[in-house]
Structure formats: C-alpha cells, structure tokens
C-alpha cells in the first residue's frame, strides 16, 4: 500500500477546477484536469460524441478566468497552420506592385492559434478540437511544440516561446489512433456516459426550473431509448438536452412520457433523440411490434 503521507504534496495548485454552474464534472474528470493544470501538460479528452468534450475547455477557461483560444481541426489542417503561415503569394504580388512592405518578411507571417496562445499576457486555455480529424502524422508534428512550448520561425529567424505555458485541452473522437509518443506526453480522460443521477444533475444545470416528474419521466424514456439494441448512434447528453428543450417548448406534460404508456406510444418528438434514419425506422418498428404484442 501507498502510505498516506506520500499523497500530501508540498505545494498546492493555485488553480483548481471544480466544475461550473453550467457544467457538471465528475470527480475523476476534475482530478485529471487539475493534474494537467498543475503539471502544465496537455490533457486528452475522449468519449462518446455529445458528452461535452469541447465544452470542457470553455468551462475550464471560464472557471479559472483565463482567455480561451480554439483551434478546430479539419481533415486538411496541417500542424504548421497552428504555428504560423508564410503568405508567399501576397509577398509576390506586393513585389510586383512595388509595395514597400515586401522588404520585411514579417509582414507576411500570419500567426496561428498556438502562436496566439503563446503570446497571451496571462496563462491561456488552448483547445485543440477533434485532433483525430487531421492526418495521421499531425500529432507527431506537434510533439516538440507542445513539449517545450516553443517553436522556431525560419523566415524571420526568431524563436517563439510561450510567455505562460497554456493549459492545453485536446479532444478526440477516436476516428484515428493517436501515436504513442504523443499520448505519453498527455494526461488522458475518457468521459464515460453519465449514469442517471449524474444525468439528472446535468439536466438540472441546464433547466433549473424543470418539474421533477417531467425530468424523471424524460430520463426514463431517454435511457430506455438508449437501451434499444442495434442503434447505430445512441442518443447522448446533448441530444437529451435538445429534446428536453423541445418538450418544454411544446409544453408536453409528464404524463405523456409515463413509462406505462411507453409500450404503446412513441415518446413525443423523438426525432431529437435519434438522428439516423435507420435508427428511426428500427425504433418505429420495435414500438410497433411492442404495441402488437401489447394488444394480444
């Protein structure tokens, strides 16, 4: 066993993330975030779509009162674009036009998100969203930059080092495996799908005035839909929140969601929960079968 004395650190972190009024963070998530903040290492967040991965960075920035820089990754994004880009074409044009700016190459260096974060006057939060969308080599190209928090601009021969090491939050949807060397440098947290209690807290944070009975009926119906076997995309937290928003807008009473009715009726506005055409068909078929079985 590890003696308890070992856990008592000498320094305590000044920044601690404990969730916010709009974001419910579980204990393990908070600890992972705080570890990353304290050790100034990136944190990699994975989880089902719609469990609040991207939201986390915004909430961390909000809770700790730090500026947020968002870098959204696309399939065509190159690692270099996060650092800077040299706009050679603009310079060529300016040289043809005899513009004076052409003599200073720095005029054609466009700063990327990482550069911006490095130059921030206070410790920023940098979100690298959906890193798995980019090319397989993308994370490897950023190893040095994220490790040392500095990079070299060849065109102007200057070294850009972070004034304050940013808190880096990286999200991934698991579309590609990330390289080991990259993973070793990060903390990792997998946001698992919340259980009913946590889910109730999450809904409460978003809809504080929601009636108790409507909430519990909605959650029951929601988890029931999630249990339907063979769904291609199970509804997640963000779909639940959308659905409740709709239920409130349409003023649907809790009785309409009552569990006993569920055998016979499709939950109202279920289009908000199921986004896939095949899933909707499957669900309708199952409800139809259920209904027939109920009549017999």
């Amino acid at each position: 066993m590890v003696p308890a004395s070992f856990f008592c650190g000498t320094e305590m972190a000044e920044n601690r993330f404990t969730g916010t009024s709009t974001y419910v963070a579980t204990d393990d998530l908070m600890l992972a975030v705080n570890a990353a903040v304290t050790l100034q290492r990136p944190i990699l967040i994975k989880g089902e779509p719609g469990t609040g991965k991207t939201q986390l960075a915004m909430e961390v920035a909000g809770a700790l009162g730090k500026p947020l820089y968002e870098w959204h990754i696309k399939s065509t994004t190159k690692a270099q674009q996060g650092l800077y880009e040299y706009d050679a074409v603009a310079r060529l044009r300016d040289s043809q036009l005899g513009d004076d700016r052409v003599h200073n190459i720095a005029n054609y260096i466009q700063h990327g998100k990482i550069w911006e974060a490095f130059e921030s006057d206070e410790q920023p939060v940098l979100l690298i969203d959906e890193i798995d969308k980019a090319d397989i080599e993308f994370p490897n190209d950023l190893l040095q930059e994220l490790d040392r928090m500095e990079f070299y601009v060849y065109e102007t021969k200057q070294l850009i080092a972070a004034k304050y090491r940013p808190i880096i939050v990286i999200t991934s949807n698991n579309e590609k495996e990330l390289p080991d060397a990259f993973l070793r440098r990060c903390f990792f947290h997998y946001i698992k799908f919340p259980d009913q209690d946590t889910m109730a807290k999450i809904v409460d944070v978003h809809f504080p005035k929601l009636k108790k009975d409507l909430l519990s009926e909605a959650l029951n119906a929601f988890f029931k839909v999630r249990e339907v076997p063979g769904l291609k995309k199970k509804p997640s937290t963000s779909e639940l929140l959308d659905w409740i928003k709709l239920l409130l807008a349409e003023d649907i009473p809790a009785e309409a969601l009552r569990a006993e009715d569920n055998r016979k009726a499709i939950p109202p506005l279920y289009g908000a929960l199921l986004k896939n055409e095949q899933d909707v068909h499957l669900f309708e078929r199952l409800v139809f079968l259920d209904r027939r079985a109920g009549q017999q």
Partner: protein, 391 residues
Amino acid sequence: MLIPFFYMLREGGMKTSITELLTLLEAMKLGVAGTSVDDFYYLARAALVKDESQLDRFDRIFAAYFKGIEDSFEDLFQDVPEEWLRHQAELMLSEEERAQIEALGGFEELMKALRERLEEQDDRHEGGSKWIGTAGTSPFGAYGFNPEGVRMGQQGSRNRSAVKVWDRREYRNLDDSIELGTRNIKVALRRLRKFAREGAADQLDLDDTIDKTARNAGLLDIRMVPERHNAVKVLLCLDIGGSMDDHVRVCEELFSAASSEFKHLEYLYFHNFIYESLWKDNRRRHAERVSTLDISHKYGADYKLIFVGDATMSPYEIVYAGGSIEHWNEEPGAVWIKRLLNTYNKAIWLNPEPKERWDYTPSVKLTREIMDERMFPLTISGLDEGIKALH
C-alpha cells in the same frame, strides 16, 4: 515506490512508459491528488492509461495490486462465466451427490453458500487467496465440488457492501470493443495508397513554383513533381447471399470505405465461389453477367484482387465440375480462381468468419491452399496484414 506496480502493469500487457510513471510521481509530489485513495486511483488512471480499451485492464491490475491479491495474470484476461461453472459442477457431481445438493436447497443455494464461503476466506487471509479450497470440512469439498483453478474474483466482490471504484469495472464493455467501422477500414486501406506516388518528375508543381518564385523575390523558379497518379487499382469480388447474410454489415462497411478510397475500384459479385461468370448488379444477377475470362482481359495485371467471402460451402463446389449449387459449371471453381490468380499475382481473400473457426471448415482450408495461405480475417488487423501481402 510504485515500481512494482509499474512492472505489474507492464506484465499485465499495458504499454505504460517510464515517462508516464515519472509524470504520475511528479503529480503526486505536487499534491494533485489529495489524501484519498480514490483520488490516487483517478490520478494514476489519467497519467498511465491512454486508451479507453485499456481502462478495464488497468482497473483489474490496480485492484489486484492494491488489495495484495496474488493475481495470476493468465486469469486476468478472462472471466469465468457462471454458466460454465454450473456446467462444470454438474459434470463433476454424481447422481447421488446431486440429490444431496438438492436436499441442501438446490444449486442456487449452493452457489450462494459458495459465495459466502468465498468472502469468509477472503477475510481470514486478509484479502489473500480467492481460490476455493478443498478442505474436508467444506461442504464443497465433501460433495466433490472442487473447481480448482477457477478464479471467481469478480463474483466475490459483487457481494461486498462497499465496492471500490476500480472494482466496479465500469469500462468492461470498452475492452477490445473496437469495431470495424468505415473509418477504421479507410485508415487501413489508406496504406495501399502510399505506394502510388512514384516515377519521374515530369509535372509542373504550381503551388511549389509560386512558393519558390516568391521566396526568390519574383524570379521564376520552376518546380517539378512526379505525376500524382493513384496507381492502385483494386478489383473487389464479394460473395453475396446465403451464409454471407450474417456478414452483410461488415461487407457494406468495407465496400463503402473502399469505394471512397480508391479511384480505380471495380467490384463484382459471386455466390459461394468463382465460376465462369460474375455479375455487377445483384438485382439483375441472372440477366447481366460478366465472363470471368473477360475480366482478366479487361483489367490489367496491375490490379490488386481482393475476394471477400466466408469460403464456407461444400468442398464439391470448389473442386468438382458441376459442383455449383446454382447452375451446371463445366469446369470446377478451383480452375477458374486459378486462372484469375495467374493474371493477378497480388491477391488476397478476406474472410469475415473468425479465424479460429477456419480450421473446422474443409472448404476454407481448400480455399486457403488455393490462395497460397493469403486468407485474412476481415478485422482491422487482418486487413492490415492483407494489405501488406498485397504489396
């Protein structure tokens, strides 16, 4: 201090590195985790595990290490299902003994007693062995019910009042559940693409020319690149209908990934095995057929040939003339497939059936021989191997 734990993780098959261990120690020194063991568990998990499929394994090793259980690692990778246990017990018991068990309140009662005994043992040895003993006084021993070597760790802990976080094993479902989705297949297929850019630099590279010219302060600097031709050409032959119905989804995924990945993709369908003709449109399979000979004439030898099928059929369908179940074939399927293989020396067979089952089906064995063992399971790793074989 955590070094034995670290080695235990590595022995347990996790790829934890020294860097990660040092990170964990540093975080502990800085006091990230408070004084609770739960916090320590969360911190260790965040620092040492980098893949959700490893979380369950980590939980088990963590539980084993911090409870001081002598856990045998071969057992870490499997749970003992209750069904099996029940079966095993029934096998071991004689009629007479079974009657005695019935007298004791039936099998359910016995299992309950067994669990209780298990807990007792746990306590007595202070979290030591969870193995069931063979002591003469034990009712289990007396009845000859001696499942030696059966580890029941998780069953035992399920009955505990206070289950530890890592004992809940919430990530069980994520272990090895990586499905063969379209994306994964695309990533695997992408490896075929890499070899497509070769040859002499004979094409103007517009972007690079502009770039270099600009850097040259306006003096034209022409850059050339090899022609970008995605030279990979793929001929995909899919088995359809019959026993393949079970694998429709995975084949759909493979097909959709392949059709967006390769520009030169030709696909054809067959049923069970290759004979003198195949078809392109499954709805008009009887009306519009393509002769197998035409295929090898039409598509050059630089095509890579991929068969997808379970190769599960009667061996007659492969080796005998007239063996086909759909029509009278003048020549056996083996002859036709060999003709194709003569033209296309880069060929593989992807089999959606699990590899363990292959040996039980003679037709799979036959097909493997014909394919020179170039048969691979239709999983990501199988696909990877297959792509390697295509190079």
